[in-house]
């Protein structure tokens, strides 16, 4: 991947421009001047402009991932904000929200300020999510108001479920005055017990301790009920079970402030892929059954699930080389995301290409109340250029993260990012 500064005038030539904000899809050019969108349409390139040939390629908004773990501070052997940014660029992402389960956790205005300052030095836009509770201990809520003033975009104790319903109620009621989302990692720890995979026929065959779908859905239901009661904004992350989908669908009818995401890996894999005991497929919540996967795809189609996230969770090779019980939960996902979801969701026309792009662009930005009209004149250029049809095999050389805990390695994907434009730079993988 080559990253270079954009010239004063850049013209993206002869691409298919997909505008997920205005629901349009047409052939044309984009003129970027001083890193900002100038004009879209048929463009006579000004002298000395850089022409980028986009024939047979699609041009759309830079993708946005509202759920990544960049491990800084404290886990820099796995990832840092710079290396995570490179992984994002390789996947077409121009903006991400970082989860606060670092060491120490991002649970104060000062630590939010640290991420904001550090992100200035990074090649993508980084929006920190602050912790819901101090030290992510699930007891006392953090100084949310001051953290928002420093740049916190949402709150989550991700990685650690908020077990105490009263704390969850406090957090939702308190955050409702700022109208920004609380994101709770929903897995009832009593039901999860020592489970390392989904409970089903496969876990019975493999003899691995497992937890059923209700481990998630019972807590999702609780969170939804409290959010509706409090009139608060709730975002349900990494939905994995069909029962959670049912609850979200039901409670969305009662509140407009509920949103949810699904990860690429919960759409791509099923628990049957775990028969090899591949620790890279050990994630929380676990990859579930075919029935759950089918329900997740349906929920994406119907709009019950609003967007796609990666839950990019780097871990060192040494940790993942351990046996299944001691390997940590999580997989990386930024580099492989588009090729995976494009393969799963657009084959057999499950959803249209435009709808898929919305799940990666305007929908997550809407949840985080960010600008969604990225092709408007004068907007800072955030663009992904990709080949939607190419079939390729994901391999180590496609990984820019410091870690390589990916179960997609050596698997076939469809659709590949060619260039990503953000912060007046272009990252190319031609």
């Amino acid at each position: 991947m080559k990253i270079s500064k954009l010239k004063k005038n850049v013209v993206l030539k002869n691409g298919t421009i997909i505008d997920p904000f205005n629901n349009s899809e047409k052939k044309g050019d984009i003129h970027i001047e001083n890193g900002k969108i100038k004009t879209i349409g048929k463009i006579a390139a000004p002298k000395s402009s850089e022409i980028i040939d986009c024939k047979n390629l699609n041009i759309t908004h830079g993708f946005f991932d509202l759920h990544v773990h960049f491990r800084e501070p404290g886990g820099e052997d796995k990832e840092d904000l710079n290396s995570g940014s490179l992984a994002a660029l390789a996947g077409g992402f121009t903006g991400v929200c970082t989860m606060p389960n670092t060491n120490p956790p991002i649970d104060s205005p000062e630590s939010i300020r640290y991420i904001i300052d550090r992100s200035e030095e990074c090649p993508i836009n980084i929006f920190p999510i602050g912790a819901v509770t101090k030290s992510q201990k699930g007891k006392e809520i953090t100084e949310m108001g001051t953290m928002i003033n420093e740049g916190a975009i949402a709150f989550s104790d991700d990685g650690v479920p908020i077990g105490d319903a009263k704390v969850m109620q406090n957090a939702l009621e308190y955050s409702s005055m700022f109208d920004i989302p609380i994101i709770n990692h929903a897995e009832d720890e009593c039901l999860k017990c020592d489970g390392v995979m989904h409970m089903g026929k496969v876990s019975t065959n493999l003899g691995l301790p497992s937890s059923p779908g209700i481990t998630e859905s019972s807590m999702v239901r609780r969170d939804l009920e409290i959010a509706v009661h409090a009139g608060a904004r709730l975002h349900v992350p990494h939905v994995s079970s069909f029962r959670s989908v049912e609850h979200i669908k039901a409670l969305k009818k009662k509140s407009e402030k509920i949103s949810s995401e699904v990860t690429a890996h919960h759409l791509f894999f099923t628990d049957e892929d775990l028969v090899s005991y591949n620790t890279n497929l050990k994630v929380a919540p676990p990859i579930r059954s075919k029935k759950d996967k089918k329900a997740l795809i349906e929920a994406v189609k119907s709009g019950t699930i609003d967007c796609i996230a990666t839950d990019h969770a780097p871990h060192t090779i040494e940790e993942k080389e351990g046996t299944f019980d001691i390997a940590p939960f999580g997989m990386i996902g930024l580099e492989s995301c588009f090729g995976a979801v494009n393969k799963v969701l657009t084959s057999n026309n499950k959803i249209s290409h435009l709808e898929l792009i919305k799940l990666l662009t305007v929908n997550p930005r809407k949840i985080m109340k960010l600008n969604q009209d990225l092709f408007k004149e004068g907007t800072n250029a955030e663009i992904a250029i990709y080949d939607p049809n190419i079939e390729w095999k994901f391999s180590l050389e496609n990984i820019y993260s410091k870690s390589n805990n990916s179960p997609y390695l050596n698997r076939g994907l469809k659709g590949k990012i060619k260039s990503t434009i953000v912060k007046e730079h272009i990252a190319s993988q031609f």
Partner: protein, 310 residues
């Protein structure tokens, strides 16, 4: 043999299980001789890698190896000193570097024998991986059933007790079904895996009905930790509902064959008088364990089925 390793009995070929059992019977004859040793595996080196405590399985394997004249090394380690994955890898690669032919491994983590095959070239034999499989136990159980009944096809076998936490149960289910036997699981519903019926077995929570139905019952050990985990209310309750007691068996007219993989909790899942009675074949299982493990080692390390008793 179709497979290089013996990791589990899921999808293990029927003809290979039969070959092991047949070969096991021939090795059993050797165990009755005054000199109980043959040179079949002379010059082969086998490591017994035990990451978890075991007495009978380890001794059974060791004895089988000695009877076949193999060189053996024992490695025991508590996993507390092996918490890190790379240490597991280092340990096994170190052992491999010393040029060995086979590894017999017990490990508390399901899937670890498969994991091991990725790191070493030696033949791997699973001596129990957590709550997953214990294939050599199931083979000796099937050999014992075959010895008692003369056939396995159509045999009705009940497996009783803590199915969820039992590697013996899972391997027996796979093996017995492959050999054409019928299996019914019986035990408290908290100790029967929720998806057990997907394994193709029947489930019956009434032990008296299972006794009426079965030709043999394999009685599993009930661990007292299950009480702490809230999965069982009490030993008394368990004995009332599921115990293989003298009183219970005396109510049934038919005499059923009783098996137990050991170690037994006498007075918990089984009464002492039953365990010591003629209807129990528990000590035959132990002897068949040595014979069948001899057969497994011999066949996997390159011996041909018909050559061994020369």
């Amino acid at each position: 043999m179709k497979n290089t390793h013996l990791l589990g009995l899921k999808d293990y070929p029927r003809e290979d299980i039969q070959t092991i059992i047949d070969t096991g019977f021939r090795f059993k004859e050797i165990l009755d001789r005054p000199i109980k040793k043959v040179p079949s595996l002379q010059g082969k080196t086998i490591v017994n890698l035990f990451f978890e405590n075991s007495t009978r399985t380890r001794i059974s394997f060791e004895l089988a190896q000695k009877r076949l004249s193999a060189d053996t090394v024992n490695f025991s380690a508590s996993t507390s000193s092996l918490k890190k994955g790379e240490t597991f890898k280092d340990t096994v690669q170190n052992i491999e570097a010393m040029k060995i032919d086979a590894v017999v491994m017990r490990h508390p983590t399901p899937g670890s024998p498969l994991h091991l095959t990725k790191y070493i070239d030696a033949i791997v034999i699973n001596a129990g991986d957590g709550t997953h499989e214990h294939p050599t136990q199931a083979i000796l159980d099937m050999m014992s059933l075959h010895e008692k009944f003369g056939y396995l096809e159509g045999l009705k076998v009940g497996i009783l007790g803590d199915i969820s936490h039992s590697r013996v149960a899972l391997s027996n289910i796979y093996g017995l079904q492959t050999m054409g036997a019928e299996v019914t699981l019986c035990g408290p519903s908290t100790l029967v895996p929720p998806f057990a019926e997907k394994l193709g077995v029947k489930i019956n929570y009434n032990v008296d009905e299972v006794i009426e139905w079965a030709d043999a019952i394999n009685v599993l050990r009930i661990q007292r930790e299950r009480m702490k985990g809230g999965l069982l209310p009490s030993i008394r309750e368990y004995r009332n509902l599921f115990g293989i007691t003298k009183d219970r068996l005396s109510k049934h007219k038919k005499e059923i064959v009783i098996m137990h993989p050991g170690p037994m909790n006498r007075g918990v899942e089984i009464d002492s008088v039953i365990a010591d009675s003629d209807q129990a074949i528990i000590l035959d299982q132990v002897l068949n364990g040595v014979a069948s493990r001899m057969a497994i080692l011999y066949l996997l390390l390159g011996g041909k089925p018909e050559e061994e008793s020369s």
